[in-house]
Amino acid sequence: MTIAVRSLLLLFVGAVLFLTIRLAVAEADFRLDPESALHSTFWVRAANLATFGSSPEELRAAVRSNPRLAPAWIQLGLDAEADGNLQEAEMDLLQAARVDHLYLPAWTLANFYFRRGDEDNFWPWARRATRLTFDDYRPLLRLADALDTSPEQVAIRLGGSAPLLRAYLDLMINAHRPDSAREIARLLAARHDPADRDRLAAFADRP
């Protein structure tokens, strides 16, 4: 190994070590005094360390230093909701959705409007969250199903995709709601997707 390579390696290790220590110091500063993070050259990184367990002061400092920090906006919104500041809560949660177009803000807003009984705002956010769901549709389906008595309407309002309908059908079967399951099965059958043949046949064979 040449001297140049060794030097480069040492330089790299030194830089990593320096950054690690500096970030640890920044984090400690942030925990002790969130405002101090604003004066740190590493403040953005330190502010990003704010978690759902952080204090409101830490969260506020975090979003001031990094307004794109969606998890902090979400936690601030939930805290505001718990304190009864519903307008502030909604603003914070909408801000989270503005800076983060992924699942969590949409899911959080759907839940927020569900708790408020605000159906007009619930459905668009639930539908958006449904589009962004990558695995488990059941939590959204449970919320939506609790708001609307017609499973068919729920399915349509949430977009009516095949994966959603399959999850909904399974949910209704497991919940021992055959009438509701039948409604969903009809929607699924109407798609004429061969992938659903076995599922629908199994449902039809159920006593």
């Binding site: 759902f52 367990g53 204090s55 699942y103 839940n111 605000d118 488990d136 609790a146």
Partner: protein
């Protein structure tokens, strides 16, 4: 208080509109399970919701203002006014009208602002560490099993149904208007003791074994009547010294602790960490953990990340 009142009004207003009975919200740093579904970040709780944590903890805020944290690898069933702890550990960070049920016991805060850490130890044991405010522990029939004051920790193990009426307590026997009273050193439960030859033991630290007399009404200041079948002197009042108050706080109660442990048999294993003395009240074995809160891991800095830094 204002915060709590606003929270109640806030969620109550939601309840008025929403059809399902919403009881609060749950927040977590990552994924957790809510009613068997994988949920990311946060969710809405309805009556009877089951939360199961994975590697992170979850924080629950109930409509009444209570704030509860569920530690990693824990499971609890949440209702408007109580939680059934099924696995792991929970922290009551603001108990506001909420009690916890675990292994058939009811752990009820004396005040709304009481805080505690409650952990299941195996399938039939629970440890309660009161951080602020006091807690009362009741057995499955609602009888008082222990009073836990702030800063102390007790472990409990319900006994087999056949032994449910057995009581085994240690404390200084006093007389009050013709009635004999004893406050157990471990559980701080005051009982009225009935039986033969009790007068000779007044002022002494005695170990009483007996059975609960459910039909009798206890004298004021006592929570139950115990018909003594055995009364043994552990120490005279003068010799007892500080032993009487020391047991539950974590200090070894000398002869008291040893004798009680011997009498309670295998219940010592229920504590897991260290035992100073054991009592059996209302069919529930109770033991002070050695070192109190320090042993329970409930002191500041001992948290496993289950508490919020609010």
């Amino acid at each position: 208080m204002k915060r709590l009142a606003v929270l109640i009004l806030s969620i109550a207003s939601g309840l008025a509109i929403a059809a399902p009975p919403v009881i609060g919200t749950v927040t977590a740093g990552g994924a957790f399970r809510l009613n068997g579904d994988t949920v990311i970040g946060n969710g809405t709780l309805t009556e009877g919701a089951v939360i199961e944590t994975g590697s992170g903890n979850s924080s629950v805020r109930l409509a009444g203002g209570a704030r509860i944290s569920l530690s990693p690898d824990s499971r609890g069933k949440f209702y408007r006014d109580h939680i059934i702890l099924e696995k792991g550990e929970t922290s009551l960070e603001n108990s506001a009208g909420v009690h916890v049920e675990a292994v058939g016991l009811t752990i009820r805060p004396d005040r709304g602002i009481s805080t505690a850490r409650i952990a299941l130890l195996g399938s039939n044991r629970v440890r309660v560490a009161a951080l602020t405010g006091g807690f009362r522990v009741l057995n499955v029939r609602g009888a008082l099993v222990a009073n836990i004051s702030a800063g102390s920790a007790l472990a409990f193990e319900p006994q087999a149904p056949a032994a449910a009426a057995v009581t085994h307590i240690t404390g200084t026997l006093t007389r009050q208007g013709g009635h004999f009273l004893l406050t157990d050193q471990v559980t701080h439960v005051t009982v009225e003791v009935t039986g033969q030859g009790l007068a000779a033991h007044v002022g002494q630290v005695v170990q009483v074994t007996g059975t609960l007399n459910a039909s009798a009404t206890p004298v004021a200041g006592a929570s139950q009547v115990i018909a003594a079948t055995s009364v043994q002197t552990v120490a005279t009042a003068a010799a007892a010294g500080g032993a009487a108050g020391g047991a539950a706080g974590g200090a070894t109660g000398g002869a008291t602790g040893g004798a009680a442990a011997a009498g309670a048999g295998g219940a010592a294993a229920g504590v897991g960490i260290g035992v100073t003395a054991i009592a059996i009240v209302g069919g529930v074995a109770a033991a002070a953990t050695l070192g109190g809160l320090a042993a329970s891991g409930a002191l500041p800095g001992q948290s496993s990340g289950a508490t919020e830094s609010r």
